[in-house]
């Protein structure tokens, strides 16, 4: 039983899926982080331009 479990959890496909999962989550956080940063910049420049227009 234990042997079977060890075999299951050390199967190359399972290891690959774990690695891809870790890389996938990291990838999503990186892309989302860049998007957040760009929204912050867009908001900043947007409000600066609006203030200029008001002046």
């Amino acid at each position: 039983m234990l042997d079977k479990l060890i075999k299951l959890f050390t199967a190359p496909e399972f290891i690959e899926s774990l690695l891809c999962s870790a890389a996938g989550m990291a990838g999503i956080f990186i892309v989302v982080g860049i998007i957040i940063l760009s929204i912050v910049l867009l908001n900043k420049f947007g409000s600066m331009a609006d203030n200029k227009n008001k002046e």
């Binding site: 996938g24 989550m25 867009l42």
Partner: protein, 386 residues
């Protein structure tokens, strides 16, 4: 007398194909599929569960499981449904066209006024990757496991696009699971949220500082996101590009009639064709197998762990925030892409705990970010396995 025999023979000939069917291997599966088709139609009409897709799909299921459907041209290469399948699903056109409509429907305002919320949209994709590992553990080949995992994107078009791109053999079951659980969000999410949060956490009030978002920002947002995703995650670019194109039509302010067409006519038209066409994969031989039950179970796992991922991440962030800036961890659950159900569920739960706690705008911001993040997650899966 001879004429009567002739008529009798002609009547029998009408049922010839049906009468030649083997009872156990053909008739029973056919009847079971009719029952499944009937169930989908019932859920769509009586329970209002994603009726726009489940109803055409239910009818399509009955249609493609009629006796000798393949021979009489329903799903043969020259048959109407197969032609539609090749024209819209096999080349992923329908999900992409549907994304134009979805993009035109979404107001990213709540997200743009508080962009930090987008991080919860990313966290709530955890269920996809957890399910990927679980499906592999259950013995599914890795590409099939990845197709199943994308049910956790809680986004029908993304599931169809990715499963099709990865050549999944279980696309029918994947689509049924994706749309069914999206409709079941009000039943699936609350127990998970309650299990992972304390009453004190659910009572946390969040101030809504509705910062005005300039029109320029709203117009530039879809363009910038498309460029970023195009540079960083190329496989997501078709999905994100069409979603953002729809949003640009909405926000530009000079294409109101196109925006309205995309939101209503285009989305409805594609949904009708998509629903009946995906049913091609709902024939007995492809659907009635033990993997289908496993896929439905894994779909539920994906939704549960998406919710858990969002909630737990919000709790983690709370550890580093000052007392007066704490986040109500329930909004993390809205990071799954089921829009707008998920944000409504969170808002309702907040009101149940405290009738003056209005979480809707925060939850909506997280929910629309979940829409973008789920598409990016689909792209990540394609990056790895496509």
């Amino acid at each position: 007398m001879e004429t009567l025999i002739n008529i009798g023979q002609k009547i029998l000939a009408i049922f010839d194909g049906t009468m030649q069917m083997d009872f156990t291997s053909e008739v029973i599966p056919m009847v079971v599929m009719w029952a499944i088709g009937g169930l989908l139609i019932y859920l769509a009409i009586a329970k209002d569960m994603e009726p726009t897709l489940l109803l055409p799909m239910g009818f399509g299921t009955i249609l493609v499981n009629l006796p000798l459907a393949e021979m009489v041209g329903v799903i043969s290469e020259e048959g109407a449904i197969k032609i539609l399948y090749n024209a819209g699903i096999a080349n992923e056109l329908f999900p992409l066209l549907l994304f134009i409509g979805i993009g035109a429907m979404i107001d990213f305002g709540p997200l743009l006024s508080n962009p930090k919320l987008m991080i919860f949209g990313a966290a709530a994709q955890f269920g996809i990757f957890f399910t990927l590992s679980m499906a592999t553990l259950l013995g599914f080949p890795i590409k099939e496991a990845a197709s199943i995992a994308v049910i956790g994107a809680a986004d029908g078009p993304t599931s169809i696009f990715v499963a099709n791109e990865l050549g999944s053999q279980n696309i029918g079951a994947i689509i049924v699971a994706a749309y069914s659980y999206m409709a079941l969000v009000p039943i699936v999410q609350p127990p998970v949220i309650k299990l992972l949060t304390t009453k004190k956490e659910r009572l946390i009030r969040m101030k809504y500082e509705g910062k005005a978002v300039s029109k320029r920002t709203k117009i530039l947002f879809p363009i910038v996101v498309t460029v970023i995703v195009g540079l960083v995650s190329q496989q997501s670019v078709a999905l994100v590009g069409f979603l953002m194109f729809g949003n640009l039509i909405r926000e530009c302010g000079v294409l109101d009639s196109l925006s309205e067409t995309a939101q209503k006519v285009l989305a409805n038209l594609v949904t009708i064709l998509l629903g009946i066409t995906v049913a091609t994969n709902m024939n007995a031989a492809k659907f009635l197998k033990w993997e289908t039950a496993l896929i439905l179970g894994l779909g539920l796992v994906a939704f549960i762990f998406d919710t858990a991922g969002g909630v737990l991440f919000a709790k983690l962030i709370n550890l580093f925030l000052p007392k007066d800036k704490k986040i109500n961890p329930m909004i993390g659950a809205a990071g799954i892409s089921a829009f707008p159900m998920s944000s409504r569920v969170v808002h309702k739960m907040g009101l149940e705990e405290d009738n003056q706690n209005f979480l809707l705008m925060h939850a909506t911001g997280v929910n629309v970010s979940g829409q973008v993040a789920s598409v990016i997650a689909g792209g990540m899966i394609l990056n790895f396995f496509g």
